[in-house]
């Protein structure tokens, strides 16, 4: 296990290094720079000063090494679009907003989706089952910004019971969370249902029934525990995109999260912010994949990590 973990962590570090080089090169390939006239009116001399101040007049390899050196010491630079704070400060200010939105969304979506999936499987072909499967289909196919617009039209424009957007009060969570939760909820419900139905056909369930266990006992002690395993694979990738903020939803509901910086940083050639954001996302993704694989072992003793599995 320890050897496996070390190998995986080394792999993550290598991927991050490659990602950082690729992003750095791509970013500097974008025509235009952060201090061009269309962004800030500066005299050529002042512009040269700024470029020198941020080290942008140096050759690219030197800039890259300097950036990585500083980053390893925890200094991610100063965002050009908001020069009064640091990149770390800006992320520390806005990320909790996005993360809390994502966290509440998961808190709503996972238990509710699981419950719906269990009900749909236990009462197969009943109205609960049909309701669940049609919600799941809608939730998985209709893009979340479309759902968000429909929510605004319905609850803010037609019935006027909720504000169109904003942040700070509990009711500001309602519409963004609903729009965001639909997809993970649908995914959870659908996979819970499928995997319960699959597990119910397994031999050990028949054995449990044969030795006289009651249906609820079988459901709770045998079926559900095994049915949760495939869920891990499906839900893992949902988590990072929720925690790192969803650009569309935050822009529609005017949530002051991290989401909009993904767009503004690229538009304004804010090199330090671009690097920091993409590396942040890459780290979160890699860690979530790693944690998912480790959880597998904890949930399912049949899975062995040290063995080569391809």
């Amino acid at each position: 296990m320890a050897r496996y973990l070390a190998g995986r962590l080394a792999g993550i570090v290598i991927v991050l290094l490659i990602v950082s080089v690729v992003i750095f090169l791509l970013m500097h390939a974008i025509p235009g720079g952060p201090f061009d006239e269309d962004k800030v009116p500066l005299s050529p001399a002042a512009k040269a000063n700024y470029l020198a101040k941020y080290g942008l007049d140096k050759p690219l390899p030197e800039q890259y090494l300097r950036y990585m050196g500083n980053a390893l010491r925890g200094d991610f630079g100063i965002p050009f679009q908001s020069p009064t704070e640091t990149v770390s400060g800006l992320i520390a200010r806005t990320w909790p907003v996005s993360a809390s939105l994502g966290f509440v969304t998961l808190l709503v979506a996972l238990p509710l989706g699981f419950l719906l999936g269990v009900l749909a499987a236990v009462r197969q072909n009943s109205w609960v089952d049909y309701l669940t499967s049609s919600t799941a289909t809608l939730g998985l196919t209709v893009p979340n910004f479309v759902v968000a617009i429909w929510l605004v039209l319905l609850f803010a424009v037609q019935f006027r019971v909720l504000p169109t957007g904003g942040w700070g009060e509990w009711y500001h969570y309602i519409m963004p969370v609903t729009a965001l939760a639909l997809a993970p909820l649908a995914l959870t419900a659908r996979y819970t249902r499928i995997s319960i139905l699959e597990v119910s056909r397994a031999d050990f369930i028949r054995t449990a029934r044969a030795k006289g266990l009651s249906s609820p006992q079988i459901l709770w002690r045998h079926t559900l525990r095994n049915a949760m395993i495939p869920l891990l694979t499906v839900l893992g990738p949902q988590i990072p995109s929720l925690i790192t903020g969803t650009i569309f939803i935050e822009s529609i509901f005017r949530v002051p999260g991290l989401g909009k910086f993904f767009v503004t940083s690229i538009l304004r050639r804010d090199y330090p912010m671009i690097m920091a954001l993409l590396l942040l996302v890459a780290v979160v993704w890699s860690l979530v994949y790693l944690i998912t694989d480790i959880l597998y072992v904890l949930v399912d003793p049949r899975v062995r990590l040290d063995k080569k599995n391809s």
């Binding site: 791509l26 893009p143 479309v146 617009i149 039209l153 650009i247 569309f248 954001l277 996302v281 993704w285």
Partner: protein, 299 residues
């Protein structure tokens, strides 16, 4: 199967003409029995029809601005009203079908063009080639596709062609991974061993035995990739980073509607409805194809 063991075995009818069964024939039969799949086929067919004949269907050109007629609610003249510069929303929605389809097909074509050769190389050659390609896949996986597309668009500039290019360049992962996994599992099957035993060359095994068997999952992957691409374009254009204005992208129309929606609700309703129906159509069609080709799910 559950009939009594004592009953005599049914005697096969003599010389009953065995119906020729093919993979495609079986798949078509299963597909036709699936109601959702047929709905999907209908929606996609409708989209295709609109995209092809929009010049005859649309009552107005998509870029005919008439400021006097701006922000008119739906009426007999303008079935879905007019937008903030007086363009007919109905006509723009119809023309938008062409944009969405172009994005869906174009992105998928580019994704296949990159993903299939890489997947083939990784799955067939194995070894160091496989290692390098899989690390490449990993690097692309670590950066969200939408963000990478954003970065590429700012390098190459906006516009329909560049949006398709950028989305295609980030969309090849699935085709590559899928094809590689298929080939790895097919390579170990007995029929490959049999072919090798009788002296079939490696190239011929790859082309005549492995590739046809990996085709069905690839078709499914394509049909599932199309709505993802359409969604991504709508999203980028919604943020104002995709297709530029006179071109009637549904996502762009939703984005423009954001500031008017409080009063002019129809500006938000129709483009979102168009996006949702298109996504539903392609998803139903994709799911239907997957079930139709999935021989393991035979009841």
């Amino acid at each position: 199967m559950s009939s009594s063991a004592l009953s005599p075995l049914p005697i096969p009818a003599p010389a009953a003409q065995p119906r020729q069964r093919t993979l495609l024939g079986d798949a078509a039969r299963r597909f036709a029995r699936n109601r959702m799949a047929l709905i999907g086929l209908f929606l996609v067919g409708l989209l295709l029809f609109i995209a092809l004949f929009v010049d005859f269907l649309a009552p107005y050109p998509y870029d005919a601005a008439d400021p006097v007629q701006a922000l008119q609610f739906p009426s007999a003249q303008h079935w879905m009203g007019t937008d903030e510069v007086g363009r007919d929303v109905y006509s723009r929605i119809l023309y938008g079908a062409r944009i969405s389809l172009a994005v869906g097909l174009g992105v998928t074509a580019i994704a296949l063009l990159i993903g299939v050769p890489l997947g083939l190389a990784a799955g067939l050659l194995g070894g160091p080639v496989d290692f390098v390609i899989m690390r490449l896949v990993e690097v692309f996986t670590a950066v969200p596709a939408l963000l990478l597309a954003l970065l590429l668009i700012s390098v190459f500039g906006g516009g329909l062609g560049n949006v398709i290019l950028a989305l295609g360049v980030v969309a090849w992962l699935d085709a590559c991974r899928l094809l590689r996994a298929q080939l790895l599992s097919l390579r170990e099957r007995d029929f490959v061993l049999a072919a090798r035993t009788v002296g079939v060359s490696n190239l011929r095994i790859a082309l005549r035995h492995l590739l046809p068997n990996a085709l069905a999952p690839l078709i499914v992957a394509i049909s599932i990739g199309i709505p993802v691409a359409i969604f991504a374009e709508a999203g980028l254009s919604f943020l104002g980073l995709g297709v530029n204005d006179p071109i009637p992208s549904w996502g762009k129309m939703v984005g423009n509607a954001m500031s008017y929606m409080r009063v002019y609700w129809y500006l938000g309703v129709y483009p979102t409805l168009a996006i949702a129906l298109t996504m539903l159509g392609f998803t139903f069609l994709g799911d239907g194809l997957r079930d139709a080709f999935d021989t393991s799910a035979e009841q």
